[in-house]
């Protein structure tokens, strides 16, 4: 393997890891606070991508500049979070917080099934491709390897920014501290006057926005087609489980590990590239069942 291929694999891995991390961040945030694994997260990712492509295509056809696709990504992500995430928490999840874990899993799975069909009804089954954001930023050449600025610089910056921003938000702002308090002990938090219902709703919407943002940012780099949501939920679960459920910083490290593992496999042994994330997950979980960064919980009898 010469330097060019090594660098290509490295850059592929970094940009892929940044995207997966953004989606996994939402998944692990929701789990950390609400103890619910949102299977519908993958659908929110896919819908974020579809919404961006449609909005961008519409504005470009009106003659606007391609740079406008960046604010549109944010707008689509927020739309997904508020219009889909909000009602899901408010109408469904709120009824099942005291139910067994398996039931909660079934409920979010049912939402996932519904949203997969909604996608197909709205956007059909043909693939979409909209790379104007990718082209708007141009290319950069590093050690003789030319790569897009969008994937090599913008995506990692957004991912790191979100990681640091979320850390700051949770530890140094009032709302963030309310969320942490509710995570620690819901009943105690309620008894000192925290509106736990609103905290949960807010957290879920933020998590859903992150899923939509992941999809929006992914949309210029890949073709959008049905089934991408199912792939993403399994992949981001692999990241989150390898890191330890609810571990935000751990998810960043694991996303990088899995992203690099997959991209190097693409160049070395392409047939198994899809399997690498799961092989990493299985190997890690065999040795550390609670994940790389997870702490084992004391059992209640």
């Amino acid at each position: 393997m010469d330097l060019t291929i090594f660098l290509l694999a490295l850059f592929d891995g970094i940009s892929y890891a940044a995207l997966v991390f953004i989606v996994a961040l939402g998944l692990t945030l929701i789990f950390g606070v609400m103890r619910i694994l949102n299977v519908a997260h993958g659908s929110l990712y896919a819908i974020g991508a579809y919404a961006t492509v449609s909005l961008t295509g519409f504005l470009l056809s009106l003659g606007f500049a391609p740079v406008l696709s960046f604010p549109l990504m944010l707008i689509s992500a927020v739309l997904v979070g508020v219009l889909l995430g909000g009602p899901i928490e408010w109408l469904l999840l709120r009824r099942i917080y005291d139910k067994p874990e398996v039931l909660q899993l079934l409920v979010t799975f049912a939402v996932f099934m519904i949203l997969e069909d909604v996608q197909r009804l709205v956007w059909g089954t043909q693939p979409y491709f909209q790379a104007s954001a990718l082209q708007a930023l141009g290319n950069v050449t590093v050690f003789g390897v030319t790569y897009t600025v969008y994937q090599l610089i913008l995506l990692p910056i957004v991912a790191i920014g979100l990681l640091l921003g979320l850390r700051f938000f949770l530890r140094h702002t009032v709302i963030g501290k309310l969320i942490l308090a509710t995570t620690e002990d819901r009943e105690a938090a309620q008894s000192i006057g925290i509106d736990a219902d609103r905290v949960f709703l807010f957290t879920f919407v933020v998590g859903a926005v992150l899923a939509g943002l992941g999809g929006a940012l992914a949309s210029p780099t890949t073709s959008i087609l049905p089934g991408m949501g199912a792939d993403m939920i399994v992949l981001s679960f692999a990241v989150v489980a390898t890191a330890g459920l609810g571990q935000i910083e751990g998810a960043a490290v694991t996303a990088l590990l899995i992203g690099l593992g997959r991209s190097f496999a693409v160049y070395v042994w392409p047939e198994v590239a899809v399997l690498v994330p799961y092989l990493i997950m299985v190997l890690v979980l065999l040795v550390r069942p609670q994940g790389l960064f997870g702490t084992s919980v004391a059992r209640k009898i």
Partner: protein
Amino acid sequence: MSDLSQNSSSRGAVNSGSMPSMRALLTLLAVLLLAAVPFIVPSMQLLINLALAKGLAVLGVTVLLRAGQVSFGHALFFGISAYAGAFLTASLPGADIILVLIAGVLGAAISGLLVGLFVVRYRGIFFGMLNLAFSMIFWSILEKFYHITGGADGIRLTRPSVLGMALERDSFEAVVFYLSVVLMVGLGWFTLRWFASPVGQIFQTIKTNETRLEYLGLSPKRALLSGYLLSAMLCGVGGSLMAMTQGVVTPEYVWWVRSAEMVFIAVLGGAGSVRGAFIGALIYEIVRVYASAFAGDIWQLLLGSFLLVIILFAPGGIMGIVDGLMGRVSRKQHATAPEDAR
């Protein structure tokens, strides 16, 4: 998961009185009715055969629900068994039907043991999602290694022979149909007996309180593994029958939608109920065939919505509703009828 199958744990020992005999009678009637289908409504034979194959796979998912675990990847064993049968008939044309079935179940059992050894360390979310991950892995292997597996087109499962005879299509379909009915009755009975057996009882205690099991010196992992093996083999039987009925196996056998369908039918029939698995599968298949004409595009949407309604409003599923009705009837007749028999 007390809500999904609230009256499933204390069973087997208390079946006495008029309710069980009425239940046995109804079951017998239903089986006889099924066996008469090829004579009464021949047009339904194929449909019901597919429903029975699915019902056996659903029974596998149902077994795990008894331990409070849900698997979103059991189509894995369904598919492995189907592909094992297809590879066998490809290398050994005209292999016996029983041989194909055994090869499939063996494949499901071996893969079930390997996957099971890993996933029985987990419960709840991890258990469900790791199963999903394994099925997605196998699905992408089937799609990628198309020179062996035929890719998305799948491979043909040529018609096996029966007791050394190469049968015509009609008589072969009849053989598979009655094989399915026999397997349904036999394996359904076996599963009920297994639930009542010591290991089955330990297995079901995983749902109520696993830690206490460990304090008794019993291994919940070993009990869960044996239940997992049973569930994988049941899915294998279903997959093998389905492949023989359809004559072709595709990666769609392992696709997550198929796993979701199994979980859906298990919850619809009544989570944890053996009869519910087959009743659910029959109702599901019949509705699907007639609904696909006008609701093909929104089928998953309908399933998802219906799943939500069942979970939120009728957690006992169809068997829960039936039990409620029968319980009301028998309460009128006897003041002390046992309520929790299904």
